[in-house]
Amino acid sequence: MLRNILIAIVLAVFAYMFYNVYSAYEARTELTGIAQHFAQNGATEVGAPNLVTAIVVTYRGFDTLGEVTILFLTASIIAFFLKLKDEEKETKILHRDTSELLVTASQVLIPIMFMFGIYVFINGHLTPGGGFQGGAIIATGVALMIMANPNIQINQTVIHWVESISGVSFVLIGILGIVLAGGFLDNKIFGENSLGEFGTLFSAGAIPIIYSLVGLKVGAEISNILNKYQKSQKEL
């Protein structure tokens, strides 16, 4: 009984705080502050039509580096926790055959899904999209592969190499930014005026390269998490 009263008091305090914030909120009618600087100078300084991509990769690129580190840490902790013990590796539980509809449909859909994921993160600076979205689409393709054939052995070596090389290259391009251009993760590493034509595929300096590496890394990590979850179903 006392517990319920305390829970009700905590929720009432939160509701009171939220009500104060809600009543002081007025609908905005113009951009202020740093968003004004990004909107005015974003296209000429960075050269990417998608302003959210320009902010995530160039203006606030350090946050993206931190987030890639957190994902890597999560994937390695899950791989550590769900490791099979040695004597359980020999007993293979054979799942029953999945239905023919799923197997046939997956053979048509999986190449299309991979191609769509790669398209999304290559064109991240022109249209809505980018590395995180493309990586999630690739991981969904891998999930369909696992569901169509539960006894599949995904090549762990390929996933590990893709993930490591993407992470190291991301930091190396950032350091190239210090050597050749303004600072860490600056995107003018190909020269001062070589941002290319605004709105084409080969423009905006290093942004397509950085975002493609982030997309591959995120896709490989989430595929690794899904593979570990699938393997842990084999324990008794």
């Binding site: 959210v52 809505p128 979205q133 999630a136 969904t140 899904l226 979850y229 699938q230 842990s232 179903q233």
Partner: protein, 85 residues
């Protein structure tokens, strides 16, 4: 003028349905119903992001929040049922 009223109407309907589904997700006894209800809340949040002119966020929420998160929940539920029965 007409477009804004339609958007506000859609937002109100989405909001009411998603709050009701969130309450169902917490209150129901069966776990599979609760997981699917949480996935649908995420899906309606993705539509709400689209109404607020944020296409990048909508794509990310639909792919990660509504697709991969529900899938991982079902892996865990499957393992629990297999060990329990």
């Amino acid at each position: 003028m007409n477009k804004e009223i339609v958007f506000i109407g859609i937002a109100i309907i989405l909001g009411i349905v998603s709050i009701v589904l969130a309450l169902i997700a917490i209150h129901n006894k069966k776990l599979s119903v609760a997981v699917i209800a949480a996935g649908v809340v995420s899906l309606f949040a993705s539509v709400l992001y689209l109404l607020m002119a944020a296409p990048d966020v909508a794509m990310t929420e639909a792919a990660i929040g509504s697709g991969l998160s529900t899938l991982i929940f079902f892996y865990v539920l499957n393992k629990i049922k297999r060990t329990n029965a």
